[in-house]
């Protein structure tokens, strides 16, 4: 159950980046199988899609995974063209294990190279592709991002999930722990005086924590576990600023479809293709 709840992020709209990739491939004169990639998730027993064409970046993803979303945000922020192959995380295709032994999303394929683990993917993209740099160069600044990332992974994100999955006393305890973790992020914005963790524009950390904030209304369901602006004024300003970002809008989740996905997961049969049409 925890795994299915973990993978609940959705987008039904094709990304504008996918739309711009297709004409470029057609112009090359070929119609490789990758232009025919479905949005529906590949499952156990499926035939592997053809590898991506030379020079084409492929993201193996899941519409409902916050970790994959971290990488979608970075791809959008840096204006990188890519194609997407969705996989079902409950019934993983066997061919996926041959590419990534952990069979987790996101996984990147690029000219025979494979990169997996969301933060590893994001750092790789930042360093290899041109465009705005998302990771600071200065060692202490870079370390500060790393430390906040560690706090997020150890103290904050797990409590987001715990609040969502527990009730009563246990839920309140998890909520207190979540707020303790968030205070460190609030304090960082107070000290830095910048709108984003990356400075005047969002950076590595902004994108890596964003997916859970975008889903906070679905994660923090009870009124007693709602985050209050009066307690986290800088974080709330950051939320507003992030919503205004074009890259955030481009890959944003459809929360209605997401909620439907969660319902299928709770019922024990997560539908990773929910909200897609027959031709998808």
């Amino acid at each position: 159950m925890a795994n299915t709840i973990r993978t609940f992020f959705a987008t039904t709209r094709p990304t504008t980046l996918q739309a711009t990739t297709l004409p470029a491939l057609r112009r090359s004169g070929s119609t490789p199988a990758s232009t025919m990639l479905p949005k529906k998730a590949f499952k156990t027993g499926s035939t592997a899609p053809e590898p991506p064409a030379p020079g084409v970046l492929r993201l193996i993803s899941s519409r409902f995974c916050p970790y994959a979303h971290r990488t979608r945000l970075v791809l959008a922020a840096k204006g990188i063209d890519y194609e997407t192959v969705n996989v079902c995380l409950k019934d993983r295709p066997e061919w996926f294990f041959a590419i990534n032994p952990l069979a987790k999303v996101p996984t990147l394929q690029h000219d025979g190279k494979v990169v997996y683990e969301s933060l590893v993917c994001n750092e790789y993209l930042d360093r290899v592709f041109p465009g705005r740099k998302l990771l600071p160069e200065e060692p202490l600044e870079k370390a500060r991002i790393g430390m906040l990332q560690a706090i997020w992974d150890a103290k904050t994100q797990p409590n987001f999930m715990k609040v969502n999955m527990s009730k009563g006393e246990e839920q309140l305890k998890a909520f207190v722990a979540l707020k303790e973790g968030l205070t460190l992020f609030e304090n960082h914005l107070v000290t830095s005086g910048t709108p984003f963790f990356g400075g005047d524009q969002p950076g590595f950390l902004d994108y890596s924590i964003w997916p859970w904030f975008e889903l906070r209304d679905l994660l923090l369901v009870n009124d007693v576990v709602k985050l209050q602006e009066v307690e986290f004024p800088k974080l709330f300003a950051w939320l507003s600023a992030m919503y205004d970002r074009p890259e955030v809008k481009t890959v944003a989740f459809d929360l209605d479809v997401f909620a439907k996905y969660v319902a299928t997961a709770i019922a024990g049969n997560p539908d990773s293709d929910i909200g897609l049409g027959d031709s998808d």
């Binding site: 032994p101 990169v115 590893v120 750092e123 790789y124 870079k142 430390m147 560690a150 103290k155 460190l184």
Partner: protein
């Protein structure tokens, strides 16, 4: 007959003591600071301090980097069951290793290690090539997912009936790491970041044998066995090394719920 055998026992015992004390000669001899202790005054300007624990695998990653890079530093050991209040103020996560320099704090072993390469750029250990850096991070992810949890379970004590299953998962997972080793070291011809970041767990393999009867054999893991031999030759590994006997002794105190952080230090 009785006098001769007593001499033999005494002779064996003094050899043991010499070997035992040699194992500790190259280590900081500072006792772990506890709750209620006074906060040590800051180290001088430009000087580096490491908050550590003598037997912590994660802190050893950073001690290996420090040794490999030839950086001078001071060590303050922390009592991890009764952490000093002043330590918890320095780092919200309350774990070691922690680096402190000119009032700046860095924690998390991998963050510390990259930070060291950033502020002491000579002898850079972190790979400069983005794909190589990604590859090393992915092997660590394989270690974390496929091996680390089972290793921990075996060392911290698993129920008798659960042990065979956990041991199998450990051995199956370790195969991924064996397969990832395609050169003399994980990082290539010389030891690098991935070698140092993985080493502390391999140094403690004797604990697996003594706590859970799990042996990492040379037949099943020829490449890892050869790599371990190469690592043990390196001066930076020797500088941070504890013998299997010492690790096993510490492991016993850990299993008993009373980790002896000052094991081997003179009163």
């Amino acid at each position: 007959m009785f006098i001769i055998s007593r001499f033999r026992v005494q002779a064996r015992f003094s050899v043991f003591c010499r070997r035992y004390s040699q194992t500790f000669a190259n280590m900081s001899s500072e006792r772990a600071l506890k709750r209620g202790s006074a906060c040590p005054p800051p180290h001088g300007p430009g000087k580096l301090r490491l908050y550590s624990m003598r037997f912590c695998t994660y802190a050893q990653r950073t001690r290996l980097f420090l040794a490999a890079k030839g950086i001078e530093y001071e060590t303050i050991n922390i009592h991890l069951r009764e952490k000093p209040e002043w330590f918890l103020e320095k780092t919200p996560i309350g774990k070691v290793p922690v680096l402190e320099k000119d009032g700046k704090i860095v924690y998390e072993s991998l963050v510390c290690n990259e930070y060291l390469d950033g502020i002491y750029p000579d002898k850079c250990i972190t790979p400069r090539d983005p794909l190589e850096k990604a590859r090393q991070s992915m092997v660590l992810a394989l270690w974390d997912t496929k091996v680390a949890g089972f290793y921990s379970k075996l060392v911290r004590g698993t129920k008798e009936d659960e042990r065979p299953a956990v041991a199998k998962q450990f051995v199956d997972g370790l195969q991924y790491i064996e397969n990832a080793l395609t050169q003399p070291f994980f990082s290539g011809d010389k030891a690098g970041a991935l070698d140092y970041n993985l080493w502390p767990w391999f140094e403690r393999f004797s604990m697996l044998k003594n706590c859970a009867g799990v042996e990492v054999s040379a037949d099943k893991f020829p490449k890892l066995t050869a790599w371990m031999g190469r690592m043990l030759e390196l001066p930076e590994v020797k500088a941070c090394f504890f013998s299997p006997e010492v690790h096993d002794q510490y492991g016993k105190t850990l299993l008993a719920g009373k980790s002896d952080y000052d094991l081997g230090l003179e009163e």
